[in-house]
């Protein structure tokens, strides 16, 4: 089981997951329409790209966009959650050992304490995301079961990973569960709303181009995101 999950299944997962995200990005660009979107993408590409970069940067740098400054509490939780979510698996020592075995190369790894901390940050962040969905009427009204399911899919690899890491209960069971939930998460990326992993950039880029070309950029007036 372990061999299958970390062997063929893992490769298939990577292929579907990352391949799928790339396909989604390509489909997004192909589905843009200058006339329907009312943005002259091609003739003003340089203005567009400038706007795109500004728009992405404003929202991936904490407290850069006005939105982030108006909601400091949320901003901290949101960024902590996403940083934990992305950094931990990529720079985790155990994952890089596998990488080393397979390719003979590995990325720099996080000290165990930091990795543990980040995983916990991610879990606590996820918990807060659930709580605010319940607590705030303006979030509750738009929240669906699907939103909770995606949060569960996202945090399960962390929960199972931590249990395995602290060797609570049957290590092999939890390790298998960790790999399985991790693969489910990866497979969900292109097919669910988790596709925002790539589509966030596409959508931000598009709106950035809109502002950069049509809504002020060409008037020399940058949007104060």
């Amino acid at each position: 089981m372990y061999d299958f999950l970390t062997g063929p299944m893992l490769w298939a997962t990577f292929l579907v997951s990352f391949g799928g995200l790339i396909v989604r990005a390509i489909m997004y660009v192909k589905g843009l329409s200058w006339q329907l979107d009312r943005v002259a993408y091609r003739p003003h590409m340089s203005y567009g790209m400038r706007g795109a970069v500004r728009s992405i940067l404003a929202f991936i740098i904490p407290f850069k966009a006005r939105l982030w400054r108006t909601r400091p509490g949320f901003t901290i939780i949101f960024f902590a959650f996403h940083i934990g979510l992305l950094v931990t698996p990529i720079f985790l020592e155990a994952h890089n050992v596998m990488l080393q075995k397979a390719f003979g190369v590995s990325l720099p790894t996080l000290p165990t304490g930091v990795a543990d901390g980040l995983a916990w940050v991610c879990l606590v962040g996820g918990l807060f995301m659930v709580l605010r969905r319940i607590a705030f009427p303006e979030v509750r009204i738009i929240t669906t079961a699907y939103d909770y399911l995606l949060l569960v899919i996202t945090v399960l690899p962390f929960i199972t990973g931590l249990i395995a890491r602290y060797e609570m209960g049957d290590y092999n069971f939890w390790l298998t569960a960790h790999i399985l939930t991790g693969e489910i998460w990866l497979l969900s990326l292109p097919f669910t709303k988790l596709s925002h992993a790539i589509l966030f950039f596409m959508s931000r880029m598009q709106l950035g181009m809109d502002y950069g070309i049509k809504r002020g950029g060409m008037k020399g007036s940058d949007m104060a995101w």
Binding site: W34, P43, H44, L67, E138, K193, S203, M223
Partner: protein
């Protein structure tokens, strides 16, 4: 498939239809007929499949339901922060559902969509600035309005408004003859005080072609006279077209895209016919958006630009003051606290925030200009945008919407508001009527004329 006499899927294209629909006072019969109007699901779904491309599709799909858009919406704020006013909810429960159900929706749903699209969103695009995913719900509501219009679910006034544009190519029944006569009349009236003043019609190869809002010839022709005075004093070589002079677009508010195209092409033809170096539009936000910002796309112009440089009045005025074509007498500058309304349609939608403040720097004594909070591209809609001002059915909701601007103005402590946009001007007038907070409001033209330092040779000779 029952369709009403007035409420139906067919646009108004003749004067007779227009007059008949206008005769249905307040749309009484129109709205009654709407209760029986069928939804053509096949056509609706067909339209969605054809026009909903990756931008809107992705926006609907990846909305993280985080609720961060809530506070960005002034309608959410002034309506007691009820969750039904959260932008994400408003679009997901309307367009989102329509897509999910592949257009298989009923009359009741469409009426709910209509109410949401025209009374709970002014398409001010402010939410788009606050969504981490860059989802602009204003853009989507505009799209939804198009779908609703094509199915006949559109407020009575906007059905008529789009009809006006189709019949007269103006938002009011101002014909080409009416327009040219008004120009002649205004030139005559004004010439007494301003010798040599002209309103040249259809002059070819002028430096400027001026276009306006049909409300001006219809209800306040003095605005045209004021534009003429300022061009005259600035020594501009200008003209107005006899055809293609009207740059507003109620059809844009209604979602009648075919009509939008027809109107803007008409204006562009005037540019091509008269070959001015550039065109200048009046103090109107939505007119500017329609002819300059969105118009090129309706007309199918791939570079997204009108056939000649086309600027908003505030851009011309700032330039005229900057270059000294117009001089302000420092003694006549505004010496009372004054604030400025940033119009969504040319500030958030075209970045014209600094030129308006440049104008302020010339016409207001330093220290007297008070910014609204928030301002520039973060400013709130006047409360009457996107057609909201004109829809009788939603007057009550509109009046509630005005409260945000009322509070913003009260917070500045100013009694004078400069509003270089017809729609904002109207909304601010209405809010004073409704809430009596003791303010005055003005376009830029009359203010500037009142404080001009006029060269001797332009003044009337004493007898």
């Amino acid at each position: 498939m029952p369709e009403g006499k007035f409420c139906n899927k067919t646009p108004i294209t003749t004067e007779e239809q227009l007059k008949a629909t206008l005769g249905d006072k307040g749309g009484k019969q129109y709205y009654e007929e709407m209760n029986h109007l069928d939804v053509d699901s096949e056509k609706l779904w067909g339209a969605i499949q054809k026009t909903m491309k990756s931008r809107t599709k992705t926006w609907l799909e990846i909305c993280a339901h985080c609720g961060l858009c809530a506070e960005s919406c002034f309608l959410y704020q002034v309506n007691g922060r009820v969750p039904e006013q959260v932008p994400s909810y408003k679009i997901q429960s309307t367009l989102g559902q329509m897509v999910k159900k592949k257009g298989k929706v009923d009359n009741e749903f469409m009426q709910m969509c209509m109410e949401t699209a025209w009374s709970k969103c002014t398409c001010c695009n402010r939410c788009g600035m606050y969504c981490p995913h860059g989802i602009d719900m204003g853009v989507m509501f505009s799209y939804l309005r198009g779908l609703l219009y094509s199915q006949g679910f559109v407020p009575w006034e906007l059905k008529i408004g789009a009809g006006m544009h189709r019949v007269y190519r103006a938002q009011m029944d101002v014909t080409m003859e009416d327009w040219v006569e008004t120009c002649e009349w205004m030139a005559e009236e004004t010439e007494e005080e301003w010798p040599g003043l002209e309103i040249p019609v259809d002059k070819e190869d002028a430096d400027i072609m001026y276009t306006c809002n049909a409300r001006e010839p219809k209800h306040y022709p003095e605005d045209i006279a004021e534009a003429a005075i300022l061009f005259h004093v600035a020594g501009e070589n200008w003209t107005v077209p006899s055809e293609g002079w009207e740059q507003t677009s109620l059809s844009m508010f209604a979602g009648d895209w075919e009509c939008c195209k027809d109107n803007v092409v008409n204006v562009y033809s005037a540019i091509e016919r008269l070959r001015p170096k550039r065109a200048i539009g009046t103090e109107c936000g939505h007119a500017h958006r329609a002819t300059v910002i969105e118009g090129p796309y309706w007309a199918g112009r791939e570079d997204g630009q009108p056939p000649a440089p086309y600027i908003h009045y505030v851009e011309w005025l700032a330039e005229a003051l900057r270059t000294g074509k117009l001089k302000i007498d420092p003694a006549k500058r505004i010496k009372e606290p004054v604030t400025l309304q940033d119009s969504c349609n040319y500030v958030r939608n075209q970045g014209l925030k600094d030129v308006t403040r440049e104008i302020i720097s010339y016409i207001v004594e330093p220290g007297y200009f008070v910014e609204m909070a928030p301002n520039k591209e973060h400013n709130y809609c006047c409360g009457g945008g996107g057609g909201f001002n004109g829809i009788g059915l939603y007057r009550e909701q509109r009046n509630v919407a005005l409260r945000k601007k009322k509070q913003q103005i009260l917070d500045t402590g100013c009694k004078l508001v400069i509003a270089p946009c017809h729609n904002c001007w109207d909304a601010i007038r209405d809010l004073e009527e409704e809430y009596e907070i003791g303010i005055r409001w003005s376009f830029l033209k009359p203010l500037v004329i009142g404080m001009l330092d006029v060269p001797e040779h332009l003044l009337p000779k004493d007898e």
